[in-house]
Amino acid sequence: MTLFDIISLILGVFLLVIAFFAINSKKLIHSVLYLSGLSMLAVVSFVLMKAPDVAITEAVIGSGLVTALFVFTLLSIRKGEAK
């Protein structure tokens, strides 16, 4: 078992656990944050598989912008509830 296998095994387990939490957590904001963490782990796997271009793009878009869009949607909803 090489180092690559060990790292990819740990990475795969983490990916699945975080995806499980993202789908099954009760609060929406927790789901969104788990999705951001999932993207970050995906970035690690892209770097592991020698795809730096994709890793940069996913790091900026997947864990930054998409999370921001989700959070803004939830924020505007919270404000509507308070009224």
Binding site: D53, I56, T57, V60, G64, L65, A68, S76, K79
Partner: protein
């Protein structure tokens, strides 16, 4: 009941995917792929690399070989930005109240970091044909710099009209460059500028120019989407 049905369906699908890929002879085993058996061998051929002039092969494929594809893709992004703007409406917009007051340090510090992020994104766009990166991540990084300004100042609104103009100009110039390729060479988006040496900043012909345009277009589009998400109608 519904959950169990969904779980069973998903499990069966997953087992089918894994079994069919395992038994298929044409699907390569993980990690033992030989590029020379594939189409990509042509992209990695030394003569073709000298012909395109881009050290980053992914950029050569995205902009050089599949430039028309990229044009279609930025069109898709434009249409989705248009759809977001249509759904949110544009009349009587004001900033969404974030319910926290940013202090002086945050406002000043964010302006300093804004410049650093902008310079980094420009670097990433300009070196798209040499190092990992390019127009798409660079443009998204410009948009995240704008996002930082929005978050740090609760009164801030960028000039969204100039974004629209910038986006239109960038998209039109992309098509114009493609048409110039049609005029000066033989087909749409063909490279009509000398390629130069592989690995230098001024090389690869039209690839850096197109990537700058793509970066501007992506950046202004996603900034527009962020602005739409952070505004709401006055009377809501």
């Amino acid at each position: 009941m519904k959950n169990i049905l969904g779980l069973a369906l998903a499990l069966i699908l997953g087992i089918f995917i894994i079994l069919s890929l395992d038994s298929s002879a044409s699907f390569p085993e993980f990690g033992t792929v030989d590029v020379n058996d594939r189409v990509s061998a042509e992209y990695l051929d030394q003569d073709n690399i000298d012909d395109v002039g881009s050290a980053n092969i992914v950029t050569a494929i995205v902009v050089g070989y599949r430039g028309f594809d990229t044009l279609g893709e930025v069109t898709v992004l434009f249409i989705s930005a248009l759809g977001v703007a249509l759904i949110f409406g544009s009349k009587g917009q004001k900033r969404l109240d974030l319910k926290f007051k940013p202090n002086f340090m945050l406002k000043t510090g964010s302006k300093i970091i804004f410049g650093i992020i902008l310079v980094t994104s420009l670097y990433i766009i300009l070196h798209g044909h040499l190092t990992p990166g390019g127009g798409f991540p660079g443009g998204a990084m410009i948009a995240s710099a704008i996002l930082l300004l929005y978050l740090a100042d609760d009164k801030f609104r960028s000039n969204i009209k100039s974004f629209k103009i910038l986006e239109g100009i960038a998209g039109s110039l992309f098509v114009v460059i493609g048409l110039l390729g049609l005029i000066f060479a033989t087909y749409f988006l063909q490279n009509f500028i000398p390629q130069g040496t592989v690995g230098e900043l001024l090389s690869a012909g039209i690839i850096p120019i197109i990537y700058i345009l793509v970066g501007l277009k992506v950046g202004s589009e996603i900034s527009g989407i962020i602005d739409n998400f952070l505004t709401e109608e006055e009377s809501a």
